[in-house]
Amino acid sequence: MAKQIVLKDALGNKYTLEFDRDSVKRMIRKGFVLDTEPSHLLVLAEDLVTGAFQMHHKKMDWEHIEPIFMAQTQRTELLKKLAEMYMEPAETLLGSGDEDTTEENPTWEVVE
């Protein structure tokens, strides 16, 4: 099951945020390029959040979405999560999820 985020507006209405391949493709065709740098994410917020609304709430535009987004707490975290979710349709095609998760030792490690 793909990740979803449920947002609530001031009136308690719920909105489901999710990306499908169609919405990601539309965003790319409009010139969207994901940059996960937090300061850049804020610039991309409008396109990223609007894109996340497209799968379940097609008719919502930024005019409607902005007040809902601005009413949220921890918006940077929300954008980070959305950036992760944006990559999911591509990641699932690249074999993610097929690996043997019982394997204890991954073939890569993080070096700092």
Binding site: M1, A2, F19, D20, R21, D22, V24, K25, I28, R29, M55, E88, P89, A90, T92, L93, L94, S96, G97, D98
Partner: protein
């Protein structure tokens, strides 16, 4: 690279939408619909890939099994068909039922007792049947004898 005489064209990186477009026909071949690929849960492709793998393994297993049956058929072929068989070769009969794939489990004491009881019942039934058959045959023979004697007596009286 420089100086070695081989010109390498730089590998073009796929953009995400190109990746989608390239993968789409493959998933159509796996049985996914347009809606499922583009507009539904994006993780559905993982399940489709796993299902495809299972299907491929099944096809492979069936092909292997078919090969095994053909091999068995050749093994059991009579000498006239199997030209390489040595003289006096008697082929074993072709299996009269499909190979059993179910793992053999240990029989419980109850199952063993049931089987023995059933075998005993079958033996008794067979015994009774053969006894009845023998008795019927004796009776039939006696009747036939009596009939023949009656006929003989009738003939002698006529004479």
């Amino acid at each position: 690279m420089g100086g070695c005489g081989v010109t390498e064209t730089p590998q073009k990186l796929l953009s995400i939408d190109e990746l989608f477009d390239r993968a789409f026909p493959e998933y159509l071949a796996m049985g996914m619909t347009y809606e499922q690929f583009w507009k539904q849960d994006c993780s559905l492709v993982i399940a489709y890939r796993k299902a495809y793998k299972i299907r491929q393994e099944e096809i492979n297993r069936n092909a292997w099994l078919q090969g095994l049956y053909i091999f068995k058929a050749l093994q059991t072929a009579p000498v006239t068909v199997n030209g390489f068989a040595p003289k006096g070769y008697t082929p074993e009969p072709y299996p009269n039922k499909p190979f059993d794939f179910a793992p053999k489990k240990e029989k419980t004491a109850q199952e063993k007792a049931d089987e023995e009881a059933q075998a005993r019942a079958e033996r008794i039934k067979a015994g009774v049947m053969s006894f009845m058959k023998a008795r019927d045959a004796q009776k039939h023979e006696a009747e036939l004898k009596a009939l023949l004697e009656d006929e003989k007596e009738g003939v002698s009286k006529d004479v």
